[in-house]
């Protein structure tokens, strides 16, 4: 019988702690496949953030170090400057990258640091129990916007990828989602391209991934997948936001 799928070699044989329907496990799996396929295992270093995915280092079988909240891009900068042969990625949530770590992200991008940010946008602070994130949609109910996000009081959902795209050192930015097999394949393609930009020493790359958080959205996994399509992508449209890598798609 032909083997069509197998567990990625670089995904440790440890059960995920993530909630059923969470996007992190899918993204972890995709990244582990890519690191293996692109033969980066022996020189890649990952920087997971505080938050649900702080335990990413229990699943990725590659070198990893924890970062302080929001400082991933600065830590990755230090790594890359001291050890330029490394391929460095940060794995950051929306609060991490687009609130507390805004300055680090924009300035690392502006310096054109050869690092790749994997930006998980689930519109809430997950691990702390579903508070408002900078990306929380208007009228979305969270534990700190119990009457729904009022843009006159709490401001607007921030389109961080579009902001980073304005910065000249950023060479590749795409927004994808992991709410369908087709979108998961597109996510994998985007991350491949982002890592390739780093390998080719072109500058800063970022992939924003709309990722379901059924627990904090108070939805079933299926409803959360549908909500991404029906609601979230209207605020955060999918697709390539910036590509000055000068490369056409590899596949």
């Amino acid at each position: 019988m032909r083997k069509v799928y197998t567990r990625p070699r670089l995904l440790k044989r440890v059960p995920f702690h993530y909630c059923p329907g969470c996007g992190h496990s899918i993204i972890h799996r995709v990244m582990c496949e890519l690191i293996d396929e692109m033969d980066l295992h022996d020189r890649i270093i990952g920087i997971p953030p505080p938050g649900c995915s702080v335990f990413a280092y229990h699943y990725f079988d590659v070198d990893m170090a924890e970062s302080a909240h929001g400082r991933g891009a600065a830590v990755a900068t230090g790594i890359k400057r001291a050890f330029p042969e490394a391929i460095v990625f940060t794995y950051q949530g929306d609060g991490d990258l687009a609130a507390i770590g805004t300055a680090e992200t924009i300035h690392a991008a502006n310096r054109g640091e050869g690092i790749t940010a994997i930006f998980i946008n689930n519109a809430v602070y997950g691990m702390t129990g579903g508070q408002m994130a900078p990306t929380t949609l208007s009228d979305q109910v969270t534990t700190t916007t119990p009457y729904g996000r009022d843009v006159n009081i709490e401001g607007y959902p921030i389109r961080m990828s579009e902001i980073v795209a304005l910065v000249r050192g950023a060479v590749y930015i795409e927004r994808t989602a992991v709410n369908s097999p087709a979108n998961i394949r597109k996510t994998k393609k985007a991350i491949r391209k982002a890592l390739q930009a780093q390998i080719d020493d072109l500058g800063f790359s970022l992939v924003e991934i709309l990722s379901p958080c059924p627990t904090n959205w108070r939805m079933t996994p299926l409803e959360s997948w549908q909500w991404i399509d029906k609601v979230m992508t209207r605020e955060f449209p999918l697709g390539v936001i910036k590509d000055i890598t000068g490369k056409t798609d590899a596949d």
């Binding site: 590659v62 070198d63 970062s67 302080a68 230090g78 400057r81 300055a103």
Partner: protein
């Protein structure tokens, strides 16, 4: 090598490069800018080295954290308000047992304060500063030469104990020009620390982290740190004594204040007052045993600091009530003169009736 005339901030930069510092990440703040500028000019274009003027002090210390993760000798510097911002990163460095050198050319506080020299960051430097149960080695140079020597030592200590080391200077030391001899040549290449993250090539993958959902695991990390701190206390405590053998009054001062106090003590001796000095060189570990030992012969101690009195608490703790402790200090960036300190010394000497004491 012959002596060269340099300001203190540049001295630290040159000494750091000669200690094999590969990465410097900084952010402008007075009175330490000459150090950042020195590194921009002399480290930035050096092969295998990196200089970044970061977007903030927070970013700079986290870049240091990144560079240290992969085994580089890394340094950042700032002055008081900027050091406050670095505390988060210092706590992470301490927790992850990563070497790094952090320079604080301190200035008057609290708040934005003044740009003039002060010693009011003693608590912050010696009590951890950031969150959690940790220590950093704190070195307190008092001259241009010592800035060079202790900067070199800071990198060695950081590597030896896998710990962040703080050099606590001040704006005056940073700005002052003094002749300095650099005793070391920059190493050709330093060995890569065996526990560095360099990619899982030919070895199992490696994690550097502190977060755990099991409190007992974190407890064990804290115990392991504590055991190392005990070892550092035993091995690395450093101090200088000056004319303490027959002293009836001992001035305790560190850094630039000790330099000022020395002038006052020389004057006191000329006037027949038997005054000596203890100068802690490591503020943590504090030379408590030495203080206690001195109290066997001398009962009176005058702590002199350019603050409202912070190190005085360590002197009192060390004495365990066995001596009498007085204080003289000027806060806010005011730099007392040797004659002013001499007046404080002689006043206390006479108040306590020490001229007639045995």
């Amino acid at each position: 090598m012959a002596k060269v005339l340099m300001n203190g901030n540049s001295t630290i930069g040159e000494a750091a490069i000669r200690a094999g510092c590969q990465c410097y990440f900084g952010y402008p703040i007075t009175p330490q800018n000459e150090l950042t500028e020195y590194m921009a000019a002399h480290l930035g274009r050096k092969k295998g080295c990196s200089f970044i003027q970061a977007e903030s002090e927070i970013a700079a210390i986290n870049m240091v954290y990144g560079a240290s993760l992969v085994g580089a000798r890394a340094m950042t510097s700032s002055s008081s308000p900027g050091i406050s911002l670095k505390q988060e990163g210092i706590s992470y460095l301490a927790a992850c047992e990563l070497p790094a050198v952090i320079v604080n050319m301190s200035r008057g506080g609290p708040g934005l304060g003044s740009i003039s020299a002060s010693q009011s960051d003693y608590f912050q430097a010696t009590r951890g500063g950031g969150h959690g149960d940790y220590r950093t080695i704190v070195l307190a140079p008092s001259s241009g030469q010592e800035l060079a020597d202790l900067t070199h030592r800071a990198f060695d200590l950081a590597d030896k104990y896998q710990i962040p080391v703080i050099i606590l200077g001040d704006g005056m030391l940073g700005q002052m020009m003094e002749p300095v001899e650099f005793k070391h040549e920059a190493p050709e290449e330093l060995p890569i620390r065996s526990n560095a993250l360099r990619g899982a090539k030919g070895r199992p993958s490696r994690i550097i982290k502190t977060f755990t959902s099991k409190p007992t695991e974190l407890e064990e990390i804290n115990w392991s740190l504590f055991r190392r701190y005990q070892l550092i206390k035993k091995e690395e405590t450093a101090f200088e004594t000056f004319l303490v053998e027959d002293a009836k009054l001992i001035v305790v001062a560190f850094g630039i204040a000790a330099r000022i106090a020395k002038g006052a003590i020389k004057n006191a001796r000329t006037n027949g007052l038997k005054v000596g000095m203890l100068r802690p060189i490591t503020l943590w570990p504090f030379p408590s045993e030495k203080v206690k030992g001195l109290a066997k012969r001398t009962r009176h101690f005058l702590v002199f600091e350019m603050s409202m009195g912070q190190m005085i608490e360590d002197v009192q703790l060390a004495l365990e009530g066995k001596g009498e402790v007085s204080f003289y200090g000027r806060p806010g960036g005011v730099i007392p003169t040797p004659s002013e300190v001499f007046r404080a010394v002689s006043r206390l000497y006479h108040q306590k009736g020490l001229e007639s004491a045995k």
